[in-house]
């Protein structure tokens, strides 16, 4: 189970410097931990494509950012994702909330987000891991460190 304090601790331990985000209702619960930590800069933007482009600028400038958004925003941000990951080849790291994932598994939703989220991430050719309720902040650290070690982009899809 990921919660705000454990995520912040994991990100700090990994050397993450900035979190650029547009929260959804699940990620939003991390707000108190993220906004109260002086060592981790929280950058609020207006659209998800912007979040990715800000992260690109931070990476060029030597920082270690993480983008946290919902899958709906990922859908909107495709052009920027393409540019930053495949043209600029920057090691973008994202945490993406998968809206209605559990309800979809139980056939209890008509939300189309779960139908398209994984195929779209695969289409963008970015390695991803789905985190369910059993995953911990330690798992998050591990995925982040591996992506950084391989100098590549990665997405943690957080089942919601």
């Amino acid at each position: 189970m990921l919660d705000g304090p454990s995520v912040v601790a994991a990100l700090k331990e990994c050397g993450v410097t900035d979190v650029i985000w547009i929260p959804d209702s699940e990620l939003g619960m991390w707000e108190p931990a993220l906004s109260s930590n002086a060592e981790l800069r929280l950058i609020r933007v207006c659209r998800e494509g912007e979040a990715i482009a800000v992260a690109a600028g931070l990476l060029l400038g030597g920082r270690r950012p993480v983008v946290a958004i919902q899958c709906t925003g990922l859908f909107e941000a495709g052009d920027t994702l393409r540019n930053v990951v495949h043209d600029m080849k920057l090691p973008l790291f994202m945490i993406v909330g998968l809206r209605s994932y559990y309800a979809y598994q139980q056939k209890k939703t008509s939300d189309t987000c779960p139908v398209f989220a994984e195929p779209i991430v695969r289409a963008w050719q970015i390695p991803y891991t789905i985190f369910d309720r059993g995953h911990t902040a330690s798992d998050l650290s591990q995925v982040y460190r591996q992506a950084q070690a391989e100098n590549r982009a990665a997405i943690v899809c957080l089942a919601e």
């Binding site: 207006c46 912007e50 600028g57 920082r63 043209d87």
Partner: protein
């Protein structure tokens, strides 16, 4: 008196100092004729409308250096929300909005904002405190020193003449080489 894109960029070249300069679309080629240092970043291939956000990230990462983004009006219209993000996350970012009312590189079609979008008003309403407007080269020459000094964020709206028949810009160097030389310059 009006202002050509070339004239607008010549004034910028005289005042950019040691800041990073990010160019997009039509300004890429003429800017390269004026300056081609590791701190000049031609954002191509690009993500549509994301140069201000890229510049914001760089300016936040390197506050001592600062970044200038030379953005077009068409690009700006694609991401007006970035004005709010720039205001909300103060950094030494200097955003030039080069307004000719047209998409030059696609054949000169008018933008949706041509002739009525008030980019200075939009920037100010978004919360950017330092906003400047220049519609001729004389006033831009006179005001550039002030506009491009001090702390950011700053938005500068430059109305320039449209120039039809422009070609789609091409990258001056492969993106990987541009990134490598920018990173190297930022290490020193």
């Amino acid at each position: 008196m009006t202002m050509t894109l070339r004239e607008a960029l010549e004034v910028l070249a005289a005042h950019r100092g040691q800041r990073i300069v990010i160019t997009t679309m039509s300004p890429i080629a003429p800017w390269r004729e004026l300056s081609d240092t590791p701190l000049d970043f031609a954002y191509i291939p690009s993500a549509m409308g994301q140069a201000p956000a890229l510049g914001l990230g760089l300016a936040l990462a390197r506050p001592e250096r600062g970044a200038i983004v030379v953005n077009g009006d068409g690009c700006m219209l694609m991401n007006l929300g970035s004005l709010v993000s720039i205001a909300h996350n103060p950094a030494n970012l200097y955003l030039l909005i080069i307004d000719n009312g047209h998409y030059e590189v696609t054949g000169g079609q008018p933008t949706a904002g041509a002739g009525h979008a008030d980019f200075a008003g939009l920037a100010h309403a978004a919360g950017i405190q330092r906003v400047y407007s220049f519609d001729n080269v004389q006033t831009w020459r006179t005001g550039a020193a002030e506009a491009l000094s001090g702390t950011g964020p700053v938005a500068i709206w430059l109305k320039v003449e449209a120039k039809m028949g422009q070609k789609t810009p091409s990258p001056p160097q492969p993106m990987g080489e541009q990134i490598a030389r920018l990173r190297e310059a930022l290490r020193t």
